[in-house]
């Protein structure tokens, strides 16, 4: 793994830089560190920083840019004839990449001879079979242009790797040398190092922005590509969700409305379970419970929040589903066809949300000033009257915010609906019927064997952006309400 070795080399160079930078500074002061502007280690750190940061920066940039650059060059090499009907450059490129990887692995494994490959001695038809024998994944018969492209790909990657190694080591050396040469008794090493550290801190804090940017860009670009293959109007207005995987495009109807309906219906059931239970638990915990009861009950409820969602998914599929079927199914009331249904997923999700609602509402109820309660008691109200007529109205905006946050959680939840809600998109009012949600369809559209260029796969990005916007809007709104409410009593 050359990247690993390269990192090790950079580290060693930087450590040398540290040692010599420190020594040079001490020498310039005649060995008396009191004559230096900064502590001796700052001179070393200066050289270390100047070699490590640019070297790693260059390496990361190179690794990001290299595939883009090479692919642009290769894509130009592929003749039109290779791009068959219904295919595109991206698919052919992945074919080239696969072939190149296969060739490299086969050579490394001793199944193929590098020289034989270079001289063109290997017979084309034979090559596919030999790659298969070597345990490499080869989907199609390799054709001559693909083989040429793969070979160019390999040689360009190799050259690029070599260039990168040389450039990165050079940068590390120059940086270390610069840092060492600066070292002297009057050089303000500490100020420079601290500025550098501050820059690193800022960069770390900006990762959050980069992540958001990455999310938005990856969603937006793929969504635009999707809408170029599939009309946006149909996506937002069609009442049917029926992707076809046999034919490309055309035959599929990809309307988001049934999915949104399933999502909202399941979330509604979940809130119907979670809000009353969570709210009453919060009221009891904050207004009635003795410290001892509170100390036991609150952590117990919060265990529910720490359980991974896959557990709730399995619980829905294997415990709640069969239980509901035994009551509402064929042998009971006959409303329910199978174990997977809106109710199944909704109840499991509701259980998951109980601690979410209860601890948020608990905080909010606790934030209501005691003076309001005392005033109410002074007028002769009982505890429950105080809660119902004074505390809850005062806490209402905050509680609404908490419920909205819980709703956004429910809408974005994946594992429970993937396991518990079913796979068929349906517009129905019967809560005992299987429906599917936006998140479940994102998973199913992106985990099949379909290629990423088809509208059936790209639709997942359009679904993703809808989900992202929906949850973000709910969150921003809810946080706004909660903050507004907090300010009221501060």
């Amino acid at each position: 793994m050359p990247v690993l070795w390269l990192s090790a080399v950079i580290t060693v160079l930087a450590l040398f830089g540290f040692y010599f930078g420190r020594r040079r500074a001490l020498q310039s002061a005649g060995g008396d560190s009191r004559l230096l502007h900064s502590l001796p280690s700052y001179y070393g750190s200066n050289a270390l920083m100047k070699s490590v940061v640019p070297a790693f920066g260059l390496m990361i940039l190179w690794l990001l840019a290299q595939p883009l650059f090479i692919e642009n060059r290769i894509a130009g090499m592929i003749p039109e004839s290779e791009i068959s009907e219904g295919s595109n450059v991206g698919l052919v490129m992945s074919e080239v990449r696969r072939t190149a990887d296969g060739l490299s692995n086969a050579v490394a494994g001793g199944f193929l001879d590098e020289e034989e490959l270079q001289s063109g001695g290997a017979v084309l038809s034979d090559l596919t079979q030999r790659l298969r024998d070597a345990g490499q994944v080869v989907t199609n018969e390799i054709s001559q242009p693909i083989l040429d492209a793969a070979q160019t790909y390999r040689s360009m990657s190799g050259t690029s790797q070599l260039l990168m190694t040389v450039a990165v080591i050079l940068v590390a050396l120059v940086g270390a040398g610069w840092g060492v040469s600066e070292s002297g008794r009057d050089f303000r090493a500490r100020n420079v190092v601290e500025k550098g550290i501050l820059a690193i801190l800022i960069a770390a804090a900006s990762v959050a922005i980069l992540t958001t940017l990455g999310i938005i860009l990856s969603l937006v670009f793929n969504t635009i590509e999707f809408f170029s293959l599939y009309p946006a109007i149909e996506f937002f207005t069609l009442l049917e969700w029926a992707p076809s995987f046999s034919g490309r495009g055309g035959a599929s109807s990809l309307g988001i409305i049934p999915l949104l309906w399933g999502t909202l219906y399941i979330s509604f059931v979940a809130l119907l379970v979670a809000v009353p239970i969570g709210l009453f638990a919060a009221i009891y915990l904050s207004e009635y419970a003795s410290p001892r009861v509170r100390g036991i009950a609150k952590p117990l409820l919060e265990i529910l929040a720490g359980i991974p969602t896959i557990v709730y998914g399995l619980f829905a599929l294997l415990t709640i589903g069969p239980l509901l079927v035994s009551v509402f199914g064929k042998d009971g009331l006959g409303w329910m066809g199978g174990g997977r249904a809106v109710m199944t997923a909704g109840i499991a999700m509701g259980i998951m949300l109980i601690p979410f609602v209860s601890s948020l509402s608990d905080d909010i109820i606790n934030a209501v000033p005691q003076s309001l309660r005392d005033g109410s008691y002074g007028l002769g109200a009982t505890r429950s009257e105080t809660i119902k007529q004074v505390v809850l109205p005062a806490a209402l905006p905050g509680i609404v915010g908490a419920i909205l946050l819980a709703a956004s959680r429910a809408i974005g939840e994946t594992m429970i609906v993937v396991l518990g809600a079913g796979a068929a998109a349906r517009l129905s009012l019967n809560p005992f019927e299987a429906m599917t949600t936006v998140t479940a369809k994102i998973v199913s559209q992106l985990t099949g064997d379909s290629d990423f260029a088809s509208p059936e796969a790209l639709v997942a990005f359009a679904l993703g952006i809808t989900l992202f916007v929906l949850t973000l809007a709910l969150n921003v709104f809810a946080l706004y309400i909660v903050r507004k409410y907090r300010e009221q009593y501060e």
Binding site: L4, L64, I197, L198, L201, A204, A205, A208, I209, T211, G214, I215, S218, G278, L279, F280, A281, I283, Y284, L285, Y288, L300, L301, I303, L304, I307, P308, T309, I310, V311, L314, F315, L318, I351, I354, P355, S358, T382, R383, S384, E385, S408, G412, E413, T414, M415, V418, L419, T439, I442, V443, T447, F452, A460, F461, G464, L467, F468, T471, L472
Partner: protein, 451 residues
């Protein structure tokens, strides 16, 4: 008291004691009691759900830790395994598992005859339903690693088939067997008869904890060990990346950030990222790390990167809270004796905040360990994670599964035997989560300082 004994002055007022509450008071008191009961009911329902959840996990998953084994003495027939009789390893390797299957069936059949058990099953082939498909491979591995055994009779402890296992655990009922083409009632009679001889027995199943996943037809030999290694490498990536980045970001925001637009933007972003659905991070990982950067699919490295981005907000929020808890007097004192701002933070504030940061990090890691949805999108499901990685590089880059992804994979296979494995996997996963959270709580109790 005295009032109560006096006759009422008012005509319309009933003669009631003040000690006895009137109807309206009674109503109000009843409402009070009722309201209180609602609260108790709320808490009780929540705790009831928790108990049901835990009970169903333990009762359904405990079976995965036990497995049914059959003890047989297999005669390794030279005529079948080494036709030329020269013990040439290459020739022996050519005999596939199909060559071994009849030997095992014969061995079990002999055992049945030997012990004089009456059974309508008259052919050794009928034993097939009792024996796991992985038994032949197990014996073949032993023979290949030690060819001198050929010609001898060797005792083996082989896996029973998943139906037999299910029968002994009560998962497979006799009524179900009628519709099952893999096993008949006669087989179950035989299992009952073999049990007293100790030939078929149920013991602790270490292979479930350490072993690899197995194909769909061999639930009895599936284990979660390889997925555990995958999870371990993912957590390694998350720890190595999210701890330094998270701490650096928090130090900047808490100690150095000026009040400007850029800082506001970062703050808003962190708050929002904490609430983005996890599946969206999966889409990000798929689009950026796999489609754009061409990192290998299903690799724990990619999983770790995605989970890092997901955990960062959690770690940043808790780190900032513990930095904020360090009183300003510490900073002032450091500045007062001539430290620079950077020195005061790194030499004084950060060490004092370390326990809090550590606690937050462990909780963030626990959250990441249980996360499944993003892993589905970067391809950590849908294949059989059968090979344990043999080094750090292969551990990071070779396709592997992760514990929650493996559980999902099993849940998808729609076979009660795999459901049992899934519940068992959940017990192990929860074991990890509970121990991580316990460590976090202990750390907090032990090192938390109140200023």
């Amino acid at each position: 008291m005295t009032d109560a004994s006096l006759p009422s002055s008012s005509e319309n007022r009933e003669r009631v004691s003040l000690m006895a509450p009137d109807a309206r008071t009674q109503k109000r008191k009843a409402a009070e009691r009722r309201f209180r009961m609602y609260g108790i009911a709320g808490i009780a329902t929540g705790i009831f759900f928790l108990i049901v959840l835990l009970v169903s996990i333990v009762s359904s998953g405990a079976g995965a830790f036990q497995q049914t084994f059959i003890t047989v003495s297999v005669y390794l027939d030279p005529a079948k395994l080494d036709k030329n009789g020269n013990r040439n390893l290459e020739e022996i390797s050519k005999v596939s598992t199909f060559g071994y299957t009849p030997l095992i069936q014969q061995a079990l059949f002999d055992k049945v005859q030997e012990n004089g058990i009456e059974t309508p099953l008259e052919k050794s082939k009928d034993m097939k339903a009792l024996i796991s498909a992985s038994a032949a491979a197990q014996i073949r591995d032993v023979v290949i690693s030690n060819p001198d055994l050929i010609g001898e009779t060797v005792d083996f402890r082989i896996l029973a088939s998943s139906r037999v296992d299910g029968y002994l655990k009560g998962r497979v009922q006799r009524e179900d067997v009628a519709r099952d083409k893999n096993i008949d009632a006669e087989h179950l009679d035989l299992v009952d008869a073999l049990q007293p001889f100790g030939i078929i027995e149920k013991t602790f199943n270490m292979d479930f904890i350490t072993g690899a996943d197995a194909s769909e037809s061999r639930a009895e030999s599936a284990g979660i060990g390889v997925a555990m290694i995958g999870s371990f490498f993912m957590m390694l990536v998350v720890l190595v990346l999210s701890l330094p980045i998270g701490v650096a970001a928090s130090i900047y925001l808490e100690e150095f950030a000026p009040k400007n637009r850029w800082t506001d933007l970062i703050e808003v972003n962190i708050a929002n990222l904490a609430a983005v659905p996890s599946i969206v991070f999966g889409i990000l990982g798929l689009a950026v790390f796999i489609q754009f950067m061409h990192l290998p699919q299903s690799a724990p490295l990619v999983g770790g990167l995605v989970l890092t981005l997901m955990t960062l907000p959690t770690i940043i929020i808790s780190t900032r809270a513990s930095l904020k808890a360090v009183p300003p007097s510490i900073r002032d004192a450091a500045l007062g004796v001539g430290a620079s701002k950077m020195q005061s933070v790194f030499h004084h504030v950060l060490p004092l905040a370390a326990p809090g940061i550590l606690t937050g990090t462990i909780i963030g890691l626990a959250q990441a360990l249980g996360e499944t949805a993003p892993l589905l999108l970067i391809g950590m499901v849908g294949f059989i994670a059968s090979n344990a990685p043999d080094g750090i590089a292969s551990g990071l880059l070779d396709p592997n599964s992760a514990m929650p992804a493996q559980i999902y994979e099993w849940a998808k296979r729609a076979d009660p035997a795999f459901y049992e494995r899934a519940w068992g996997g959940i017990i192990i996963l929860l074991g990890f989560l509970i121990s991580m959270n316990t460590i976090a709580v202990i750390l907090r109790r032990r090192f938390e300082r109140r200023w």
